[in-house]
């Protein structure tokens, strides 16, 4: 047994070392930093300094509200779309399957900077292709970046484009693991395709859908690059500033690590709450 331990930890050590230095310690450290006043050197322990500021900071509530607003619209739309994509890609009637798979899955390999640049050009007020196409069907140009609602919509569209295929891949793998004979039996009993989807497919997909939903919520909660690059630092004003952007501004522009850590732990609290909720929901199966 002692020998087994030594061999096992021999294989594990490099990995655990990186884990300890770059994850475990930072998790503890940022918690401690959130209780320190970091705007003057040396830092000093001041438990209420950052947290007190956080609960009375309008910028924090603005960022929280924007993040949650994007989240409650973007995640359901994207998961619904990803489910539809996966179900239709799985259909035996589909021709040119490879082409369709490429169309939906290709955004997965596109980097954030590259796709943000394209979306900025496409949604440009005077020269963007989106407004030109809207004009050609008789709709007036929309100034996507200078008022809040269209700017939010642009971000939601961009994130959905980038991640729907990613989720469709996971859901498609789930669909393919459902045994054929379940459907054969239902078809023999003259259950319509639509009812098969509602009463067989969806319940069997539930664990996979909830995995996708939780990962998407946590991903969108950390939204940073899109408002950073597409709507330019959360503009107009701070209309699309998210928690991720607030943290970046506080931590890495103003170098106020204490306050940024408090924002980070707020995100972590939300993430833990959502994971626990999902765990509870997945336990009480119908």
């Amino acid at each position: 047994m002692a020998l087994r331990n030594r061999t096992a930890y021999g294989f594990l050590t490099p990995y655990l070392l990186v884990f300890a230095v770059f994850w475990v310690w930072p998790i503890i450290s940022s918690f401690l930093i959130s209780f320190q006043a970091t705007r003057t050197v040396p830092w000093r322990f001041a438990p209420a300094f950052n947290w007190g500021r956080l609960i009375s900071d309008p910028a924090f509530y603005n960022a929280l509200q924007n993040t949650l607003l994007i989240l409650v619209i973007q995640v359901p739309v994207m998961i619904a779309l990803a489910t539809v994509m996966a179900v239709l890609l799985n259909s035996p009637l589909l021709k040119a399957r490879g082409l369709f798979r490429f169309a939906f899955f290709a955004p997965v390999v596109v980097g954030e900077v590259a796709y943000c640049a394209v979306f900025r050009l496409m949604f440009n007020l005077d020269y963007g292709i989106v407004n030109k196409l809207l004009n050609s069907i008789g709709i007036a140009s929309i100034d996507w970046f200078s008022s809040v609602t269209p700017a939010m919509a642009t971000i939601i569209i961009a994130v959905t484009w980038r991640w729907a295929g990613y989720n469709a891949i996971i859901i498609l793998a789930g669909l393919q693991s459902i045994p054929e004979d379940v459907y054969e039996a239902a078809t023999l009993d003259r259950v319509s395709k639509f009812r098969q989807f509602i009463f067989i497919t969806l319940p069997l997909l539930r664990p996979i859908l909830s995995f996708c939903i939780v990962l998407s919520i946590i991903g969108t909660m950390q939204l940073f690059v899109e408002p950073f690059l597409i709507t330019e630092r959360g503009g107009p004003g701070s209309g699309t500033e998210t928690l991720g952007l607030l943290l970046y501004r506080q931590g890495f522009r103003s170098l106020n690590f204490g306050y940024a850590s408090a924002v980070a732990y707020t995100m972590a609290g939300l993430a833990i709450a959502i994971s626990l909720l999902q765990l509870r929901l997945s336990r009480e199966r119908p």
């Binding site: 087994r4 096992a8 294989f11 594990l12 490099p14 990186v18 230095v21 770059f22 994850w23 310690w25 930072p26 998790i27 450290s29 940022s30 930093i33 994509m85 239709l88 009637l93 589909l94 021709k95 082409l99 490429f102 169309a103 939906f104 899955f105 290709a106 955004p107 997965v108 390999v109 596109v110 980097g111 954030e112 900077v113 590259a114 640049a117 394209v118 979306f119 900025r120 050009l121 496409m122 020269y127 292709i129 030109k132 196409l133 050609s136 990613y166 793998a173 395709k193 990962l215 946590i218 950390q222 940073f224 943290l247 931590g251 890495f252 940024a260 980070a264 995100m267 972590a268 993430a271």
Partner: protein
């Protein structure tokens, strides 16, 4: 109605719905390719232009004038390659340990790894930055880009699963022959795990190639930037060539699209396993 006719109708409906959706989905990529071949006055003209021009090389030159993009690409290739090699090695060693041995603390190790999956990256990024930049003085180095992102939780679980589906008798037989454990790992287990390793390597390479936030924070000095960071600094500047930015976006994206088409199966296997977010 015969079931054949019903299938036919269903098939037409399916394609009528899916084809426009696919076109919308391809549209941003198509426009990226088109923009990358257009001069700036073409991009900012009032006409609708959706077909490629011949200006790609001029755009690359304009981009190179705005920032040293070729240098940044070299950095990105080196970093992503080294990262992928090291990460696959660390991850598969850990996955092997977790699948093959019963050892003290195994349950705790697995639980902690699982626990980090849903933890926001922002919780660790501030101390990582302080540590690497201030304590280790490693900002703007390759080490800073490669080492901190090496930890990855889902990859280990992916490798562990792959190893535990292999026949154990094989490894036990080798041990009875007196083969050392690290040799069993290196010469028996790893070759058997080739498809999983390929999937993992592709996903890790992609993640490193596209990584933006950490390189933006830690390597912001002009000569030390990765390609996405170099490109990102141009977005939002006024006197900058957008044809150049699009050419850069295309140079970042096109190789990955080729890899995706050629190795689609591995790719999809990696993502379906949730190997890396």
């Amino acid at each position: 109605m015969s079931s054949r006719a019903a299938n036919r109708r269903r098939s037409i409906l399916l394609h009528l719905f899916l084809a426009p959706l696919a076109l919308i989905w391809l549209f941003p990529l198509w426009m990226m390719a088109v923009f990358s071949t257009m001069p700036d006055r073409g991009i900012f003209s009032p006409d609708i232009e959706m077909l490629p021009h011949g200006n790609f090389l001029d755009n690359v030159q304009n981009l190179q004038r705005d920032t040293d993009f070729i240098g940044a690409i070299v950095t990105s290739v080196f970093v992503a390659t080294t990262y992928t090699f090291l990460s696959v090695l660390l991850t598969s060693m850990a996955g092997w340990a977790l699948s093959r041995y019963q050892f003290f603390g195994k349950g705790a190790v697995v639980a902690i790894i699982l626990g980090t999956i849903t933890l926001p990256y922002f919780v660790v990024v501030i101390p990582q930055f302080i540590m690497v930049a201030r304590d280790f003085h490693l900002a703007n180095t390759w080490v800073a880009l490669i080492v901190p992102p090496l930890f990855n939780s889902l990859g280990v679980l992916f490798m562990r699963q792959s190893f535990s589906m292999m026949p154990h008798e094989l490894f036990d037989a080798a041990r009875v022959e007196g083969v050392k454990e690290w040799r069993i790992f290196l010469y028996v287990a790893l070759p058997l795990a080739r498809p999983t390793l390929a999937a993992l390597a592709i996903i890790l390479f992609l993640a490193s190639w596209n990584n933006y936030l950490w390189p933006l924070l830690i390597n912001s000095k002009p000569g030390a930037m990765t390609a996405p960071v170099a490109l990102g600094t141009l977005i939002g500047l006024t006197k900058v060539s957008w044809g150049g930015i699009m050419a850069g976006a295309m140079m970042l994206t096109a190789p990955m699209l080729v890899v995706f088409v050629l190795l689609q199966r591995h790719f999809i296997a990696g993502i379906a396993a949730g190997a890396v977010k």
